[in-house]
């Protein structure tokens, strides 16, 4: 498509998107956090605090102009560690969804389009897996396989694909009888083409919105896991771990728990608002 057309389309999307102020906030928050996280070593005041670092002269400092979020029990800057802590969250979200989404989408497409025993097999499998509560499963897997980050992420992905398979399967079933699919069939298009070039693009908006929402969900889960001490090895910062550790020093050194918890909250809100905005713009029924 020509540049002018793309620009026009983007400005139309922006018009719709900007109707809801929360969506804009969500977009800004998400983008800001992602940028901060990627460039954390350059953008945080005390990047070295993210590793093994101690400064016993500065322990338990309340929020100040030197340490916006205060310092923790070994003197590390909580603001810096919170930003680095986002890394854990985003890596979790990225990896889990990076595996689960393609896997789930393909299985959903295949089961929806071919039907028959393949459809039954895949859908029953998703039924079984969906009956398991994600957090409990993640804890169980972590406990069994050891708190190795990689294993935890793969285990979560193995559960997560089912949502996408379900979602896409439903959409494929409703779209496969549309006339443009019939037209492609009459022309003799290959099944691959019909699934991936005709049907999938129509599912893409819903998949995108769900992925955004799920990112928030996975981040919440990862915070829960790290809170329980699973999946993360100290001194790597993770927001959940920071909340857990800081909780021991309540109510006096409140900044050690409150700020990491707020950091999680802000990211989740941002993603949810962004997802709402995307849903409005892309006109999705979710």
């Amino acid at each position: 498509m020509k540049i002018a057309d793309i620009r026009l389309k983007l400005s139309q999307y922006w018009y719709r998107f900007s109707q809801n102020k929360a969506s804009i906030a969500g977009l800004l928050i998400t983008v800001a956090i992602v940028v901060l996280t990627i460039f954390a070593p350059h953008l945080t005041p005390y990047p070295e605090h993210s590793g093994a670092f101690v400064d016993f002269r500065n322990t338990f400092q309340p929020p100040s102009s030197d340490n916006w979020f205060g310092t923790d029990q070994v003197g590390r800057d909580i603001f810096t560690r919170s930003i680095f802590g986002y890394r854990f969250s985003l890596i979790m979200a990225g990896t889990v969804l990076g595996i689960a989404v393609p896997l789930g989408v393909v299985l959903g497409l295949v089961s929806g389009y071919f039907g028959g025993w393949l459809e039954s097999l895949i859908m029953r499998l998703t039924d079984i897996v969906l009956a398991l509560p994600p957090l409990a499963m993640a804890i169980a897997v972590s406990a069994v396989l050891g708190s190795d980050l990689g294993n935890t992420m793969i285990a979560l992905a193995m559960i997560w694909w089912t949502w996408y398979a379900r979602l896409v399967h439903g959409m494929v079933v409703s779209v496969r009888n549309e006339e443009y699919v019939e037209a492609a069939q009459i022309m003799g298009a290959s099944r691959f083409h019909i699934m991936f070039r005709e049907i999938l693009p129509n599912c893409a908006p819903a998949i995108l919105v769900k992925t955004t929402l799920d990112a928030a969900f996975v981040i919440e889960l990862s915070a829960g896991l790290s809170f329980l001490g699973l999946g993360v090895r100290p001194p790597e910062p993770a927001l959940g771990t920071m909340v857990a550790e800081g909780a021991r020093y309540l109510p006096g050194n409140w900044w050690m728990t409150v700020f990491p918890a707020l950091a999680i909250l802000v990211l989740i809100f941002g993603l949810n608002w962004l997802a709402d905005g995307l849903r409005d713009v892309l006109d999705v029924d979710l």
Partner: protein
């Protein structure tokens, strides 16, 4: 099959099985198409008219291979394509016009370079009176008439000899319908095409189809050259259909059979009446009609009716 004909349909039957669900009973079948035979000549427009449940759309889909016949045969030369009713849903909303047209091109002419493809797309668009720049547009920025033109271009892309037009203008405004019909007829002459025109609009049929067949609940009840059908409708259902058309002038009013409202509604295709399937609503039903299904009889050359009022002898 005669050497002249483009398409011959012989005793075509399509039954759809009913799965269990909330339809109790033995299951059974929907007799969508129940023994239909006709043939289409080169460069001819063959019209199939009927209301819901008549089976006309099913025949269209059988011809292009979307459904397989339960029995009977379809014999044709060359390629068959289809143009659908609803321009809103017959084009993939997420693909540009260009990509939509490229699909059939790539499938039928292997080894086309991108440049050749683009050129051919532009040629197709020109044939349907659209500028080449439409190739970059998405369906949602097109009007109903423009979308339908794209659908026609898509059908032409694979060089067919025969096109099934399923209610091609029903979803369009009346002023646009006229232009699309004109385009379709011009293309027929330019490219030597034959058409199967499926519609519920009798006025349209009269002006476009060379031969018209009237369908009711899966069977052809009357078939004749169009002018003859409208001048001398023999089957009571044809007469009722003609009488129900709302017309726009007093002159046309005079040309319709006298107004008669038929009783009740079209029976569900799940419960087709015994004997003549129209007898439950026919204003001239006889006792025989409830027991015995009428056979085709030719009352004039090329004019066939399936009705007991026009028995073997061809006399009322």
């Amino acid at each position: 099959m005669n050497s002249g004909e483009v398409l011959t349909v012989d005793n075509l039957v399509k039954y759809f099985p009913i799965k269990g669900g909330f339809l109790r009973g033995s299951g059974g079948q929907v007799r969508a198409v129940d023994g239909v035979s006709f043939s289409v000549q080169p460069c001819q427009v063959f019209g199939l008219v009927g209301e819901s449940g008549s089976g006309k759309s099913t025949i269209g889909r059988l011809l292009v291979g979307l459904y397989q016949p339960t029995s009977g045969s379809i014999t044709y030369q060359g390629k068959m394509q289809m143009v659908f009713q609803n321009p809103g849903s017959s084009l993939n909303p997420r693909r540009t016009v260009g990509k939509t047209l490229e699909l059939p091109l790539r499938l039928h002419h292997r080894g086309l370079t991108r440049k050749q493809c683009r050129q051919r797309v532009a040629e197709l668009l020109a044939q349907v009176e659209l500028d080449a720049e439409y190739a970059n547009k998405l369906p949602r920025s097109l009007s109903g008439g423009q979308k339908q033109r794209v659908a026609i271009a898509r059908a032409l892309a694979s060089d067919p000899k025969f096109i099934v037009l399923d209610e091609p203008t029903s979803a369009l405004d009346v002023s646009v319908q006229a232009k699309i019909i004109k385009l379709i007829l011009e293309l027929k002459d330019q490219l030597n095409l034959s058409y199967l025109l499926i519609s519920h609009d009798l006025s349209l049929m009269r002006n476009v189809a060379d031969v018209t067949a009237v369908m009711y609940l899966g069977k052809i009840v009357e078939i004749a050259p169009t002018a003859e059908l409208f001048a001398n409708p023999a089957h009571p259902y044809t007469q009722v259909l003609l009488a129900s058309i709302p017309v726009v002038s007093v002159e046309e009013e005079a040309l319709k059979p006298t107004k008669r409202l038929v009783e009740g509604e079209i029976p569900s295709p799940l419960q087709i009446p015994q004997g003549c399937s129209f007898h439950t609503r026919c204003p001239e039903a006889m006792e025989l009609c409830a027991r015995v299904a009428p056979e085709d009889s030719e009352i004039k050359p090329g004019h066939r009716v399936a009705c007991h009022l026009h028995g073997r002898k061809g006399e009322r």
